[in-house]
Subunit: 209 residues, 2 copies
DNA sequence: GCGCTCTCTCACAACCCTCTGAGGAAATTC
DNA sequence: GAATTTCCTCAGAGGGTTGTGAGAGAGCGC
């Protein structure tokens, strides 16, 4: 996890550790290069705006070094839109700041699946009782019936399903599902839980408690 | 995949891997020759402008070596237009830079089909509901009725069909369907989706979501 | 050289999504 | 049992995204 902003690096690092990954952080391109050499990561999350070197240059440098580590770039909104163009083909991907951790982790999983052919069989579906969620098609079904969800609703349900049977604090949910710099009213959460209940628990035993 | 431009080599290599091929890259004619000998590829994608040797010479050399690997040449626009012309006779093909990955992969499939008679049975048709797309004749039918598509429309529809049932980001589609150095407005995408909807989803249940 | 087709740009309208804030219900505390 | 806090739902404003059409320019065939 490479970012010169301490806050971001720690945030992502923690989230990834909780998600079961082993993480090493670096604040500069220089550090990143030695870390790639010594730590041999399966994937690198890389802020393009590093103090000492452009993120893209770093990747090129790593390539010429012979390293083939896949990368997920962190970019500012708007900016570098065209520079980023082409990345999704290279097996890499990018996420614009500010992102939600839920989204970042999801992207990481996709890229890792793509790079580990043997792990390709690992299902992209989550299931609980008669509720199914497909991470590829973004389709959600309750008892076979298709349920239309908005983006935020989907992220929220996904996070809840990943933590099925576990009690989560309001802060945990906000921190993972909403963008990390979300400054609005925390009551959005209740609103969206309400939306989900309407759509998911309308017919059938309530799954959201 | 032979190209001295690292970026191009990686780009194509990744796209092909995602498409299910096994890929080896080389940056020079010299490397290419040893790779052909050791790796025994079913097809070679070859940039004609290599640093150490002309691409055509390399192919001749390989032929005299006894190798019969089919080739897809990458050439710059305009340049060597007539030199390349005779190539398609030999069962080979060529693609001008900048190309779209969608197109390159399509050409590769055609050449491979032509060279693997037994694999000829491998269908060149994509189908979804009552929508059919033929990769050989470039014909598209909806409910049996022939639909006239332009080149870009066809590439877009082809990419969507290859990923049927999967949600794609705008960036993914742009990266695959448009030329890799496309720097224009990303809104072309919406325009072309609109065109496709007119032609494909006009009569019949909407397939493009 | 002319006309045609195709690709891309641009602008605008419509819509959907997100968030806010209020109000009522339920639960908890005193 | 009353007061207070917490929880839940709803309606609506605002902003952003999406979808469509018109038109300019490039390329191609005749």
């Amino acid at each position: 996890m490479v970012d010169d902003e301490r806050y971001i690096a720690d945030l992502v690092s923690m989230a990834l550790k909780v998600a079961g990954f082993e993480v090493q952080t670096a604040a500069t391109a220089r550090e990143a290069r030695t870390a790639v050499r010594d730590f041999r990561p399966a994937l690198m999350v890389l802020d393009v705006g590093l103090p000492d070197q452009d993120g893209f240059e770093l990747v090129q440098r790593l390539h010429t070094d012979g390293s083939k580590v896949p990368v997920i770039f962190l970019t500012a909104r708007d900016a570098t839109e065209e520079k980023v163009h082409g990345l999704t083909v290279g097996g890499d991907d990018y996420v614009t700041k500010p992102f939600s951790l839920e989204e970042l982790v999801a992207r990481i999983r996709v890229v890792l699946r793509r790079h580990n052919p043997d792990g390709a069989k690992s299902s992209s579906r989550l299931q609980l009782a008669d509720l199914e969620l497909d991470e590829d098609s973004y389709e959600v079904r309750r008892g076979g019936r298709l349920v239309e969800l908005t983006r935020t609703e989907f992220r929220l349900l996904h996070y809840l399903l990943m933590n099925a049977g576990r009690v989560l604090t309001r802060a945990q949910i906000l921190d993972h599902v909403w963008e990390y710099d979300f400054g609005g009213e925390a009551s959005v959460l209740e609103t969206y839980v309400s939306y989900l209940r309407h759509k998911i628990d309308r017919d059938g035993a309530p799954l959201i408690h």
